[in-house]
């Protein structure tokens, strides 16, 4: 098992290395200014962002002033959307009346592309962080909300009857039965919305922002700093990968019972 996963890891590293090598080769042969080779991108990223002092874990001031607002917006937006999505979703999933009333609204809201709402948010909030957070929240709440509704609505009837027969209190039924039952679906929604949050963060920073990765990307584009543009793109990819990996770590802990129960079944 350990040997196999180690082998799998080796294969994956080799695959990445081969892809980068091929990319390097093709871009060098083509020598197009819009497609710099990865070595150029990497060295540009290094000088821009990762050549800082040890005390800043090698991050440069430039990297910190760019990453902090971006990550802050992403996490606040995703966190707010998650809390709101789970709470609303559980309520709607357990209440026929609420779901009858709110389902059309949800279907409507979900169909509106969030970037279209940015001008409205400009009007509602100040230009800047509140608008960006609102864009992220509205863009990423749907997977959480819809999965939480579904999870709460499909709790096993026998589980609920057992809870009733043994006289569990309302908070106990919610906390010990409904939430754990819905958890696998909620977590799937949270993961989906985390990757969406990264996309929404960049989109929200492309217009009306003066900080963050998205802002950096547009200014680099406008100034024809092609390696900087590519550096931002690579950085976003790495960020997405790291976010997803950290989420999986947490997910495996929360849903240990679920994944193992499925193995046994």
């Amino acid at each position: 098992m350990a040997a196999r996963s180690l082998g799998g890891f080796g294969v994956r590293v080799a695959l990445v290395a081969a892809t980068v090598a091929l990319w390097e080769l093709v871009t060098r042969l083509a020598s197009q200014p819009y497609f710099p080779p990865p070595s150029t991108i990497a060295s540009r990223m290094y000088t821009l962002w990762f050549s800082g002092p040890v005390t800043h874990v090698f991050f440069t001031d430039d990297a910190l002033t760019m990453l902090q607002p971006s990550l802050g917006r992403l996490l606040v937006g995703w966190g707010a959307a998650s809390v709101a999505g789970v709470v609303l979703g559980l309520a709607i999933g357990r209440s026929q009346v609420l779901s009858d009333f709110l389902d059309p609204l949800i279907q409507f809201g979900r169909a509106v592309p969030p970037p279209m709402l940015v001008p409205i948010f400009f009007a509602l909030f100040k230009i800047g962080t509140p608008t960006q957070i609102a864009t992220i929240v509205l863009g990423v709440i749907w997977p959480v909300l819809i999965n939480a509704i579904d999870g709460a609505a499909t709790v096993d009837r026998q589980h609920l009857e057992t809870a009733r027969v043994f006289g569990l209190s309302r908070p106990q039924i919610i906390g010990r039965i409904i939430v754990p039952s819905a958890m696998p679906k909620i977590v799937a929604g949270l993961r989906l919305s985390l990757s969406l949050a990264l996309i929404m963060m960049v989109i929200s920073e492309l217009v009306g922002s003066n900080s963050g990765i998205g802002y950096r990307l547009t200014t680099a584009q406008q100034n024809f700093l092609i390696p900087d543009v590519w550096g931002c793109i690579v950085l976003l990819g790495v960020l997405g990968y790291l976010l997803n990996s950290s989420f999986l770590l947490v997910e495996n802990r929360i849903l240990r019972w679920h994944s193992r129960a499925r193995q046994y079944a």
Binding site: Q158, V165, G167, L168, Q172, R260, A261
Partner: protein, 255 residues
């Protein structure tokens, strides 16, 4: 203890129960047996307060059952959907005890005690999906025992386990329940099981269910899977119940 007075239940146009009359005395183990679809599960669910019968009354200790009563526990047939897979066996057993006003340590002790009685002392930390079907059903029974209900309802409790496990569980339940002096209403479609386990066997007729027979089981205790089943009375009662279940009239009232 439990009085079921002229209980009738209809699902739309379908009449499941039609004027069922039945009383269960303190400390009695009553088996309700009948062909499948005779409304015996509906009857049990009515007593548990999970179904509101369309007619008649159910009194538990003289109190009409409207919501699920406080002092009642149920063992369902489908243990895999009755135990909570996100909790260990001990947590499953301890969960309902909070409302009994027990603190954490007391709940833990009571749960361990009940698991021990069901022969599961080593499995307290295991999750339901790590256990065999028989073990899971024993956890479900332990949960009911730890709750110390004045009435224990069992809905086909051994219907989903293999024959050997079934016999073991039957004896275990008889022993533990005699020890606690518990009142039990057990629903089954298995005629042998009803006679083997019951102090009384109540036969429900085909739907709409009515009480077709009420037989006292005068078999010696403790019961034994081999000896009891070859006992003359067992053989006669089994035939009697069998005839009743198949719809014949009671040939001779058993007293």
């Amino acid at each position: 203890m439990l009085e079921i007075i002229d209980v009738t239940h209809t699902y739309g146009a379908y009449r499941a129960l039609d004027g069922v009359k039945l009383t269960v005395a303190d400390g009695e183990l009553v088996c309700v047996v009948g062909p499948s679809g005779c409304g015996k599960s509906t009857l049990l669910r009515s007593v548990a307060g999970l179904v509101q019968p369309t007619g008649g009354r159910i009194l538990l200790d003289g109190v009409p059952v409207s919501q699920t009563p406080d002092n009642l526990a149920v063992v369902f047939q489908d243990y895999s959907r009755s135990l909570f897979p996100w909790m260990s066996a001990a947590a499953n057993v301890a969960l309902p005890l909070r409302r009994k006003g027990m603190d954490r340590a007391q709940r833990r002790t009571a749960a361990m005690e009940a698991l021990e009685q069901m022969g599961l002392a080593d499995a307290a930390g295991k999750y339901p999906w790590e256990m065999s079907g028989g073990m899971q059903q024993r956890v479900a029974i332990a949960r009911a025992l730890a709750f110390r209900p004045s009435l224990l309802l069992m809905d086909e409790p051994f219907g989903s386990v293999d024959a050997q496990t079934r016999e073991d569980l039957e004896d275990l339940v008889l022993r533990v329940c005699a020890h606690h002096g518990m009142t039990i209403m057990l629903v089954t479609h298995d005629i042998d099981e009803s006679v083997y386990l019951g102090d009384r066997v109540v036969v429900l007729s085909r739907a709409p269910g009515t009480v077709a027979g009420d037989l006292h089981v005068s078999l010696p205790s403790p019961r034994d899977q081999i000896v009891t089943r070859e006992h003359e009375t067992f053989v006669r009662l089994r035939a009697e119940v069998g005839r009743l279940v198949r719809g014949n009239q009671l040939s001779r009232q058993e007293t």
